[in-house]
Symmetry: C2
Subunit: 204 residues, 2 copies
């Protein structure tokens, strides 16, 4: 298949999306922390719909998201026990991806990020989840570890009804172009400006 837009998808991507009930690609970007927080807030809606949720955290240290992880894993257990809501799978690059048996690639962040993306591609092809959070995914794209054209093409060609939320600063313009919904979290005022350190329950 040639690079760029395949001929079967219109330039604006709208017709295909509308045909399949418009599963959305959402990008949360900008300088503020609300990007991931809002993505996990969206996941609450997905959970309520009973949609299978897959979270992929593209960060080496994921300590800042322990609250969201704990809560969404608890919701996943609620689903297992009562049938309410949807199942939740949580994958962390920071601890070595869950589907990899070898924890030996610690040193190679680029390879780890690419492996995460390859798994996302496999899951999108298999329609494993209905709602994906690719947390901090803009960075491996920005750093060239993951090919942005591959990302855009994969998102445009994904089958079925699979929503994908991507977070992180400095979203690649091609990613913004390919997204249906882009929200920029802008700082108006932040306590760290006044020397305040991050604190329990708010920052993580």
């Amino acid at each position: 298949m040639p690079q760029g837009q395949p001929t079967s998808v219109p330039d604006d991507g709208l017709t295909t999306r509308q045909r399949r009930n418009r599963a959305l690609v959402v990008v949360h970007t900008g300088e503020m922390k609300g990007k991931s927080t809002a993505a996990f807030g969206l996941a609450l809606r997905a959970w309520h719909q009973g949609w299978p949720i897959g979270v992929f955290q593209f960060v080496k240290s994921a300590k800042w998201k322990v609250g969201e992880e704990s809560a969404l894993r608890a919701l996943g257990r609620v689903h297992e026990q009562t049938g309410e809501g949807g199942p939740v799978a949580w994958h962390k690059m920071g601890e070595g991806w869950s589907w990899i048996q070898r924890p030996g690639s610690e040193a190679d962040h680029a390879a780890d990020a690419l492996e995460g993306w390859e798994q996302v591609k496999r899951d999108l092809a298999a329609q494993t989840y209905s709602f994906y959070v690719l947390d901090e995914f803009t960075y491996p794209v920005k750093w060239g570890w993951v090919d942005v054209d591959d990302v855009v093409r994969t998102l445009q060609e994904r089958p079925g009804t699979q929503h994908v939320v991507i977070t992180g600063r400095d979203a690649d313009p091609r990613l913004v172009e390919a997204a249906d919904l882009v929200v920029e979290m802008t700082k108006v005022k932040h306590p760290m400006d006044a020397g305040q350190k991050g604190q329990r329950g708010i920052e993580w």
Copy 2:
């Protein structure tokens, strides 16, 4: 007590806040829907900390938040059953506030909003919760139903360690001034621009 800043609180509010481990007033404003979503995402962290959470929805029709409500109520039940996380209380103006036995005030939104705020004041004074979401609270403030000076003074003088997140467009400048953290959700691109209607799992 005179209007405005009481003499016991410094103009920037910082010293008092730092003295009490800086419980934060957070405002999510701007034109995009991520405001509430990010607030409920923050609530996940609060839940994980075991903090009692109080949500007050200052909207007549709260249909757009059923996913968040359902998920957070489920987390509240997890707390009740296992002790994990914190308790969750969810109050809706749209159904008549839960602490009011008379559902007769349907027609008077201003009185309903003020009654909601008065309950928030009582709960802040009693330190009922550690994490408050005052969802869409900027509107009753904007429309003059709730006195902004009263809000600012109450927030500044609240006892203990109580985080308060306020969402909604057009946050009053005095509210922004009083807040520790202000995030503006800015639209970069929205599918409704292309005539797309709100959809299940994303918009509600």
